[in-house]
């Protein structure tokens, strides 16, 4: 951190200024002139919070994707299908039993099992053939998408929020001022706050697991140099299976989350595959922190874009990706 400040004094000042302006825009009540220029502050705050929540969802999907990529150097283009499968299974389970929290465990186990099957049946047999692995995952995603369309049809499903998480929460943030000077505070759906908190907690746990435990050490070593890790006596195949199962399970859980605060419908698999691709390209392949940063950036860009420039929100996302590729091809936090 201090090294970065010493190397880029100008960049640090600019970044500090930007952070200060954004914080001011979030915390302070907006003066009247600003409200006419940018619209209501409530809209801005909602876009920011929706963006961060969407970023949390993207992080759930993309962190597994980036770990698998970093470790195995293969792109699992069926990752979006795992997300969709998790969403459908979570919906069925929650509908049948009414236990929303338990559905996370069940979906994690089922989708992780699918991931293990993929690893054993596909990737292990084609080790080192990157292109072929990628092509096979495309084929699998086509087949899975059609089978899911067959079973669940084209309609959209919404997973019901449990009672204790439904309804709004008032946040200690000023959304605006009434005519008589009363302060209006921002309200936000409780379930989204819960998703946000849970994602941050999960991210911290993953970071701790990666940096403070033995298996995390093995995974990091595998990302850096897999052959060397194998040569020093570690059963790399076991590490691979664990990571693949974990990444797939996370994608499945993200399916429940997505089905709760958006909806589950055929075609979402491609949307989330694309989101993971962009997040991982922006953040840097194989980096968890990069995935978090990229996910928040893309989530914010999508939401702010859809509020302030509806036609061009996709272009904004794409522009971020193009800029990162042009100036830092390895991704913001990639090595």
């Amino acid at each position: 951190m201090s090294g970065f400040v010493q190397r880029n004094p100008a960049g640090t000042v600019i970044m500090a200024l930007v952070v200060a302006v954004v914080l001011w825009a979030i915390i302070a009540p907006w003066p009247a002139g600003m409200e006419t220029a940018f619209g209501r502050k409530r809209i801005f705050l909602n876009a920011i919070f929706n963006g961060i929540t969407l970023g949390a969802l993207y992080f759930l999907v993309a962190s597994g994707f980036t770990l698998i990529f970093g470790l195995m150097k293969n792109v699992n283009l069926a990752h979006g299908s795992l997300y969709l499968l998790g969403g459908y299974i979570g919906y069925e389970f929650a509908e049948a039993t009414g236990m929303w929290l338990l559905s996370f465990v069940v979906v994690f186990l089922i989708v992780a099992a699918v991931g293990i099957a993929l690893q054993y049946l596909v990737f292990r047999r084609m080790e080192g053939e990157d292109l072929r692995q990628t092509l096979v995952t495309i084929g699998i995603s086509v087949v899975m998408a059609d089978i899911m369309l067959w079973i669940w049809g084209g309609q959209s499903y919404q997973i019901l929020t449990p009672d204790w998480l439904s309804g709004p929460v008032t946040l200690p943030l000023i959304a605006g001022l009434r005519g008589n000077g009363d302060v209006v505070y921002l309200t936000f759906p409780a379930v989204r706050i819960a998703i946000l908190v849970a994602s941050i907690a999960l991210g911290i746990l993953m970071w701790l697991a990666l940096n403070r435990t033995r298996i995390g050490m093995l995974i990091r070593a595998g990302v850096d140099d897999r052959d060397m890790l194998a040569a020093s006596g570690v059963k790399v195949q076991v590490v691979l299976v664990v990571v693949f199962a974990f990444g797939a399970g996370l994608a499945g859980i993200a399916g429940i989350v997505g089905g709760t605060f958006q909806s589950i419908v055929a075609g979402e698999d491609m949307r989330f595959l694309l989101a993971s691709l962009v997040v991982v390209i922006v953040g840097g392949m194989g980096s968890i922190l990069g995935a978090a940063l990229g996910a928040v950036l893309i989530g914010l860009a999508e939401q702010l874009g859809s509020v302030y420039a509806p036609t061009y929100s996709v272009v904004l996302t794409f522009l971020i990706m193009a800029l990162v590729l042009a100036f830092r091809p390895q991704g913001l936090l990639g090595r």
Binding site: L77, G139, I140, V143, I281, M285, T317, F318, M321, L325
Partner: protein, 360 residues
């Protein structure tokens, strides 16, 4: 390795074709004559549906997949954005030429809007190439897939230029030479002509100094760079060249359907092009056309095929997906690879003394 694919005497030497000695006719192998005569005489035996829907569509999809094959097979860059490039050219024809959406279309004459459409598509592809070649291997697939998806979502959201969800209808070819090019037989010959031109162009470029350098870069970029070749420019130029083929196919596609909408370049369509190229075989320029024929036949007759397996009629994607998986799993070179292996085995069993049973 692509150089040694087709042994010398049986190869169609376009270089010789250009210089046109009396010997060049004899150098064309028999299979070319057979295929050529069959394709030229097709309208005599085939009905309108086969000419227009099956073969016309095969040529168009084959050309788009051919542009992918050129990048993937000779350049080692599997680009999934080729369908988007084709769709952009189609959109440009609808926007610059005439369509049912009078508020957007500019009604330019055909000799202006066709070159401009191809040019815009080529510029777009060059920009994609400049971005995509900064990374290699699977990263290229990821980036081009992301670009293709962005193009799809952008055309669906943008109403001022691309007319959003509904796209453009009533996009018809100009009535050149008093011929309505949307009738089956003229359209068949039009598509056939451009398919043959693109095929020959790819064969020619693959043997030109540029194509050879590109194949060298595919096999070992560092060595080519050390030899003084500009790796970056060669790769980007490959994108530009491939995009022209894709753009022509895109224009034919919009004429054939008389409409274009975001779904034309949606992600399923993008992946279909990859499936076509891989199933046909990505090592040789004829592969994409074979793949396209298989795809179109399956797509047209899938209800019958599915009934054989006892599945409902609309599970076409399942059929394509399983077929694609089977091909990638057992024959990474596609159908052409199967064919080569079958020939090699046959020539081995027939004549144990023959050392090579290579493809002809």
């Amino acid at each position: 390795m692509a150089l040694a694919e087709r042994p010398g005497p049986s190869a169609l030497s376009i270089g010789a074709l250009g210089r046109s000695g009396p010997g060049w006719l004899e150098r064309i192998p028999t299979s070319y004559w057979v295929v050529g005569v069959v394709l030229l005489c097709m309208p005599v035996v085939a009905n309108d549906f086969i000419l227009y829907q099956i073969l016309g569509w095969t040529f168009i999809l084959g050309m788009i997949a051919l542009s992918l094959m050129f990048l993937g097979g000779y350049g080692g860059m599997v680009s999934l954005a080729q369908m988007s490039i084709a769709a952009l050219a189609g959109y440009m024809v609808a926007i610059l030429g005439s369509s049912g959406v009078q508020t957007i279309s500019l009604n330019w004459p055909w000799w202006l809007y066709i070159p401009v459409a191809i040019f815009i598509a080529a510029v777009f592809a060059t920009m994609i190439g400049a971005l995509a070649v900064r990374t290699t291997g699977i990263y290229t697939i990821m980036i081009t897939l992301a670009i293709a998806a962005a193009f799809f979502y952008f055309t669906r959201q943008n109403y001022t230029i691309f007319n959003g969800y509904s796209g453009f209808a009533n996009v018809v070819p100009p009535e050149l030479l008093g011929v309505n090019w949307r009738t089956p037989i003229p359209f068949y010959y039009l598509a056939l002509f451009w398919a043959v031109v693109s095929y020959l162009a790819v064969v020619y470029v693959a043997r030109s100094p540029f194509g050879l350098a590109l194949q060298g870069i595919r096999d070992n970029p560092r060595r080519m760079s050390a030899l003084g070749f500009n790796v970056f420019l060669h790769r980007v130029a490959a994108y530009t060249f491939a995009s022209v083929i894709a753009a022509i196919a895109g224009i034919l596609l919009v004429w054939q359907n008389a409409q274009i909408s975001p779904g034309t370049a949606g992600l399923p369509a993008v992946i279909d092009i990859l499936v076509i190229a891989i199933v046909g075989g990505i090592k040789r320029p004829i592969g994409p056309f074979i793949g396209a024929l298989i795809y179109v036949l399956l797509r047209t007759f899938s209800p019958d095929v599915l009934q054989v397996f006892g599945l409902p009629d609309d599970r076409f994607k399942l059929l394509i997906g399983v077929g694609f998986l089977a091909i990638v799993y057992w024959s990474p070179d596609g159908v052409l690879g199967l064919w080569d292996r079958w020939r090699a085995r046959r020539s081995r069993t027939r004549d144990p003394m023959a050392s090579t049973g290579g493809p002809s």
